[in-house]
Structure formats: structure tokens, C-alpha cells
């Protein structure tokens, strides 16, 4: 039987029968795959490495009938072990895995793997969660073709430094409004997040807490509308 070698990040694990586990793995080049890991429930250390969460693994499997392959071997390539030193980061990391599991239900381009990997790396390096959330949101939207318009308002006018806006989530554009919730610093943060190649780069910029919080709330709204939230 043909063996497939992939680089993957485990998104979820469930039990399967008496001794086996099913791993759902997001791979770079083969999309999302489901693999049976035989006999792992019986091993002494059930939280042993090799197929741990929050890590990148080299996995070898054989394709089976249907969509379930059989895991032959795994080797830990990179472990993001710092994540679990902090409870908040642990909880957020699980949320991220769950989100990617949902987002990649139908298809999983290589960009999703790269995005998830960068996200876990940022969590591992203790980048503030708020920064990771904004960065991840805009890049997820971008991959899905739902990038918000950060240059023009609903009237086609260039977004202005001195004006206030509300956000038209349906059209993914800012609309001018007196006393609107969003101003230039919110828009700048979104632009920076979109331009930043990683959450770490975004963290080089100091962001006032209230701005970060409201931008995050906006991003969650955008993601919900486009079906991204788990």
C-alpha cells in the first residue's frame, strides 16, 4: 500500500474502538486528513509526544478505503511547548484549532496550514493574544476572499484621518457616521495587521487596549458573518 509522508498539525483527537485514536490533521500539501493511530490508547503515557497537539509533525500514513488513513509513524518536528505554560494561551490555542477544524471542513489550501503554524508560533512566543486574534482574523478573511476595504468608505471616498465611521459588515466597508465607533487608529490597526506577515510583526506596534478590544470585536463580527467561527 502506498505510503504518504506529510507535514501536519493535529487539530483534534477522538477515541475509536478499544485501543485506537482518530487524528484529524491539517497538512500543508494534502489538505485535511483523518488518520487512525492504532493501539495508542494502550501506551503507558497517554499524553506522549509524537502526535501531540500544538506541534508540527512529520507523519507517514497509508491511504485507506474511504477517507480514513492509517498512521504508520510520526516524528515531532517542532513542539510549541510554551503554549501550555499559560492557561489563557492554552484555552485560546484550543479555540484556534477548533476554528481551523471548522474552517477547513470543505477544503484546506496550504495557506491555512501556514496561517495556523504562524499562529501557534506566536502563541509559543507569548505574543499578546489580542494581537494574534486581530492578525488571524484579517488573514483568514483575506484567504477566503472577504478582505475588508480599508482604503475607501461606502461612498467610494478615501478613508479620512479626522472622520468617524461605522462598519457595514455586509459590504465589508466602513461607512461615514458622526459619532461612529471607529476612527483612524482602528483602521490603521487593521491595515497593519493585514500587512504584517506574522503576529510578531504586528506586536512591534504599540496599540492602546480599547482600540485593540474594539477592533477584535469587529473582527469577530466579520468572521461570524462569513461563517468562520466554530
Amino acid at each position: 500500500m502506498k505510503q504518504v509522508v506529510v507535514v501536519g498539525i493535529v487539530l483534534a483527537r477522538t477515541n475509536y474502538g478499544e485501543a485506537d485514536r482518530i487524528l484529524t490533521v491539517l497538512t500543508r500539501d494534502h489538505g485535511k486528513v483523518r488518520l487512525v493511530a492504532k493501539g495508542v490508547r494502550k501506551i503507558k503515557s497517554k499524553m506522549a509526544g509524537g502526535i501531540e497537539l500544538f506541534s508540527v509533525n512529520d507523519l507517514t500514513y497509508t491511504a485507506g478505503k474511504g477517507d480514513l488513513g492509517t498512521l504508520i509513524s510520526s516524528r515531532l518536528k517542532r513542539n510549541y511547548g510554551n503554549i501550555v505554560t499559560d492557561i489563557q494561551r492554552t484555552m485560546y490555542a484550543y479555540e484556534v484549532l477548533k476554528s481551523f477544524h471548522k474552517i477547513t471542513e470543505d477544503a484546506a489550501e496550504p495557506e491555512y496550514f501556514d496561517l495556523l503554524n504562524l499562529c501557534l508560533q506566536a502563541l509559543d512566543e507569548a505574543v499578546p493574544i489580542q494581537n494574534i486574534e486581530v492578525w488571524l482574523a484579517v488573514h483568514l478573511l483575506s484567504i477566503g476572499g472577504h478582505t475588508p476595504d480599508l482604503a475607501h468608505d461606502t461612498q467610494g471616498q478615501a478613508l479620512a484621518e479626522s472622520k468617524c465611521y461605522m462598519f457595514d459588515v455586509e459590504h465589508m466597508t466602513f461607512a461615514q457616521k458622526d459619532q461612529g465607533a471607529y476612527q483612524s487608529q482602528h483602521i490603521k490597526l487593521l491595515r497593519l495587521a493585514l500587512r504584517a506577515s506574522s503576529p510578531q510583526k504586528l506586536s512591534l506596534v504599540q496599540v492602546a487596549q480599547p482600540v485593540g478590544t474594539s477592533v477584535n470585536a469587529l473582527c469577530r463580527q466579520m468572521l461570524r458573518l462569513h461563517g468562520y467561527h466554530a
Binding site: 483527537r13 477515541n15 497517554k46 499524553m47 492557561i87 492554552t90
Partner: protein, 123 residues
């Protein structure tokens, strides 16, 4: 009374909680790490898991996600008894992990801990 798995890394505190819960009529199995807790669940029939989420190597949140990924352990009731304030436990995580109560250690007496076990048996 309940068959309890107490997961508490601190030696002295673990001993105190175990004694208090046993005096309240429960059977208590005490483990200090996530890995040994998973092994205990595999070997014993547990009604209630009393869990400190701050542990070395693998924390309690990891343990809970691991436990809830096994369908045969989904009925285990979970009470967090932790150093972390409940406001810092995500609501979504609470729902997903079936956490019945979050008890903040500094504010929870031994009597209250024992009551929480009884309360968690009520459907």
C-alpha cells in the same frame, strides 16, 4: 457518596483535600499530574473529577480536552478547584469541556468543596 478523582499537584494541599473529602464520606483517588490522572480514569470508575488546572508538564485544560475526546468519559462531572479566578476561564471552554463549577481555591473552604461534590450530583 461519590467516587472522586482529585487532581492536585501540591503534596500538602492534596493530602488535606483528600482527608476532608473522605471525611465527608467520599472515596477519593488522588493524582498529581495530568498523565497519571488519565491513567487513573482508565483504571477506575469515576463520578467526579476535582481538578486544579495549573499543573506541571500538561495543564488541566489539556487534560480536560483529552478526557472529553474519549466518549466513555463524557459522563464524568468536572469541578475545577483552582488558583485561577473563574473570570479567567473562558465561557466557551467551560461549555465545551462540561465544567460544572469553578471554585477559586482562596475563597473555597473545605466544607464548601465537599458541598460542591454533593451539588454536582444533582441533575
Amino acid at each position: 457518596m461519590a467516587n472522586i478523582l482529585l487532581v492536585e499537584p501540591d503534596t500538602t494541599l492534596g493530602s488535606v483535600y483528600k482527608q476532608a473529602l473522605e471525611r465527608a464520606g467520599n472515596t477519593v483517588h488522588w493524582r498529581k499530574t495530568a498523565a497519571s490522572a488519565v491513567n487513573a480514569l482508565d483504571q477506575l470508575s469515576i463520578d467526579v473529577l476535582i481538578l486544579e488546572i495549573q499543573m506541571a508538564v500538561h495543564n488541566g485544560i489539556e487534560l480536560l480536552y483529552e478526557i472529553r475526546s474519549y466518549t466513555d468519559w463524557n459522563a464524568v462531572r468536572v469541578v475545577l478547584h483552582t488558583d485561577i479566578r473563574s473570570s479567567r476561564i473562558d465561557d466557551r471552554a467551560r461549555r465545551d469541556l462540561g465544567i460544572e463549577q469553578v471554585l477559586y481555591k482562596s475563597d473555597t473552604s473545605l466544607a464548601q468543596l465537599c458541598e460542591a461534590v454533593t451539588a454536582s450530583k444533582v441533575i
